[in-house]
């Protein structure tokens, strides 16, 4: 990434959304309990195929999910199911 060509820097700032705050908090809490480390999380982010298509916090969430599944704490299926339920409750995607 460093040294690659790049366009002008967008100085706009989006309002941090609650889910993004939650992504930060879940990470910090998992770290605090020794369930994941910064290095593991970074490695998980870097390994995302969709890296360039996701926003910063989307990468964070995807990486946290990857680690939780890797460690057998949660499964992809139960996350999928619950996420779909939540979306339905919110009024559908």
């Amino acid at each position: 990434m460093g040294g690659s060509p790049g366009g002008p820097i967008d100085r706009g700032q989006h309002e941090v959304e609650d889910w993004e705050r939650l992504a930060d908090a879940i990470n910090a809490a998992l770290s605090g309990k020794g369930l994941q480390t910064t290095d593991q999380h970074r490695r998980a982010i870097e390994s995302l195929e969709e890296y360039r298509d996701l926003s910063y916090y989307e990468r964070w969430v995807a990486a946290t999910e990857k680690l939780l599944v890797e460690k057998g704490i949660l499964t992809g299926d139960e996350i999928d199911e619950r996420a779909a339920e939540i979306e339905r409750r919110w009024g559908g995607p």
């Binding site: 040294g3 690659s4 609650d18 705050r21 939650l22 879940i26 369930l35 970074r42």
Partner: protein, 199 residues
């Protein structure tokens, strides 16, 4: 669920919003995390902001001994002002002088001294900043409206390991009569990253 109002119906939001909520709910149900633990993390992050950095700078401008401490043991300096970095990463402050201007970037992932300053701005995390800050720091600073005076070296610090950097900007001229609080107000978040300077 902790600390949030339901996402507004009809508001376009990322599919990852539901995923992190799902993860939260499942982790609570399985007893991996508790609601207070998550709420504590949220609260902690809310207390981290650029004003912490501004306080460190203003104190350093007024007190040479504190400046020395800030430059040699930044975590100890932060603790002295009641700012608890908590994070295990190293924290190093680099000083701007009449001969040198510092710029901070993390090309690998956007590392930032979050335990002091809170969340980094979106531009700091952008591919454009991460790519260009190392290769053309002067052009990047020009976009932020800043050009170092003739003869000033530009030093770029790429936070490639577990060191978090912050810039100690120079005290602007004509501020000799200002008190510490007033001085702190001059210190912008952008000047702590080094893309420009306090005016």
């Amino acid at each position: 669920m902790s600390g949030h109002q339901h996402e507004e119906a009809g508001k376009t939001t990322s599919p990852y919003a539901a995923r992190i909520r799902a993860i939260e709910a499942l982790l609570f149900e399985k007893g991996v995390l508790t609601e207070p633990e998550v709420q504590d993390s949220i609260s902690y992050m809310e207390t981290r902001s650029p004003s912490n950095g501004a306080k460190l700078v203003a104190r350093a401008w007024m007190d040479e001994g504190f400046e020395e401490l800030l430059l040699s043991d930044a975590k100890a300096a932060a603790l002295q002002l009641g700012i608890d970095p908590e994070h295990p990463a190293e924290f190093i402050v680099v000083k701007n002088t009449t001969g040198v201007h510092n710029l901070i970037v993390c090309t690998l992932c956007s590392c930032y001294p979050r335990a002091i300053l809170g969340r980094p701005p979106d531009w700091y995390k952008s591919f454009e900043y991460r790519s260009r800050a190392v290769r053309e720091p002067r052009a990047v600073m020009r976009e932020f409206g800043f050009e170092p005076p003739e003869g000033v070296e530009v030093l770029v610090h790429d936070s490639t390991a577990d060191v978090r950097y912050m810039v100690l900007p120079m005290r602007p001229p004509g501020t000799e009569d200002m008190g510490e609080d007033e001085l702190a107000h001059l210190v912008t978040r952008d000047s702590l990253v080094g893309v420009n300077v306090p005016s």
